[in-house]
Symmetry: C2
Subunit: 189 residues, 2 copies
DNA sequence: ACGCGTGCCTACTACTATTAGGTTGTAGCC
DNA sequence: GGCTACAACCTAATAGTAGTAGGCACGCGT
């Protein structure tokens, strides 16, 4: 009965890794217990329930992804920033598909408001500053970017574009390019 | 022990309704058995397993959605067709969120190839005929449309845009408008 | 050295998925 | 109209996941 130093934080990290390995919806308290070498009920000292685990992983992923995006867009503007922003999302999803799926977990409003989700929205708005859009166009554009990037990444992960020419990178570049052109044409200037 | 006339088809329909009521990932063989007033193991005469049920619901939803889209775009072209196409997806998702989620279930390649999924792709390409795009632009554009519509609808259903101005319909119109402009500007003419 | 809290345990309950095998209602045949 | 046979439903049993209750002990703070 040696004590492993389990904490909610460590469990969240392990859960995130588990998610990347077997898929977010296969993340189960049982599997996590096995992975940590303890019996299942032991985890309930650290977690409220399985939903709590999922939410913690989601918040962790949102935070990590926001950090990456912030890093990617730092010091860039305009088309360059847009491209870095887009790639940060796509690369994260490819590298950590389970965590990316976790980041899309539906959170209740208060949790969402306290999450890194707000940073994501702020960063999207920041990217758009380079295009000088008037409200409400800026909001529409934020929603468009969120839709395209999330939609593309989730279809790509689901294998929707697999095994068909032209390859996925080409389409991605074309799409980012098109969005840049679109936003420039909507510029208020 | 009265016999209800259960068939795979009826179970699929009931499952689809259940999905709309409680969410696709809450669709369980147990719940379906309760809903149909039979004991759980009885369903295994009609279904292989719970995954089989989910796949059947997915195929049903893909078919139904394809029918709706086909209906919506019939006799339209250009911007008009694009808008009808987009609205057909969004309206279906709002009306039948569980079925819409089912339609996004990842299918194995052979199942997918035999599903109504191919009709969806064909219809998207048909819409684009009005914009006279050269390959590979047409493929990129199909992927863009799929990404935007799926992304927007899924974020909207997840409550991502809720309770914030401007309202979701406005953004939707702006986005469809923007896509139309974008596709026209990419026209090969 | 000792207490006591926390960290992990065993044991139990409830639900879902699935298989095996039994029973009955009814459709079709004589 | 009764018989048969199959299909549709059942009960019973196994295994996995989620969660609760309560016990024991490791080791930290005094």
């Amino acid at each position: 009965m040696e004590k492993r130093g389990l904490t909610p934080e460590r469990l969240t990290r392990e859960g995130a890794e588990l998610a990347d390995e077997v898929g977010f919806d296969q993340v189960t308290v049982s599997a996590l217990a096995r992975r940590c070498g303890v019996k299942l009920p032991s985890l309930y000292s650290h977690l409220l329930n399985s939903q709590d685990l999922r939410v913690r992983i989601a918040l962790f992923a949102l935070e990590e992804l926001a950090d990456r995006v912030a890093d990617a867009v730092a010091g860039r503007a305009g088309r360059d920033a847009l491209s870095a922003f887009a790639d940060a999302y796509r690369d994260y999803a490819k590298e950590h598909p389970g965590r990316y799926a976790a980041a899309r977990l539906r959170l209740d409003p208060e949790t969402a408001a306290a999450s890194a989700g707000v940073r994501h929205a702020q960063m999207a708005r920041a990217i758009l500053r380079g295009y000088e859009l008037n409200d409400p166009d800026a909001t529409h554009a934020v929603r468009l970017l969120g839709s395209v990037f999330h939609g593309y990444v989730s279809l790509e992960l689901a294998g929707g574009f697999a095994h068909s020419a032209p390859d996925e990178q080409e389409s991605w570049d074309w799409i980012v390019d098109s969005l840049d052109a679109l936003l420039r044409s909507r510029s208020s200037s």
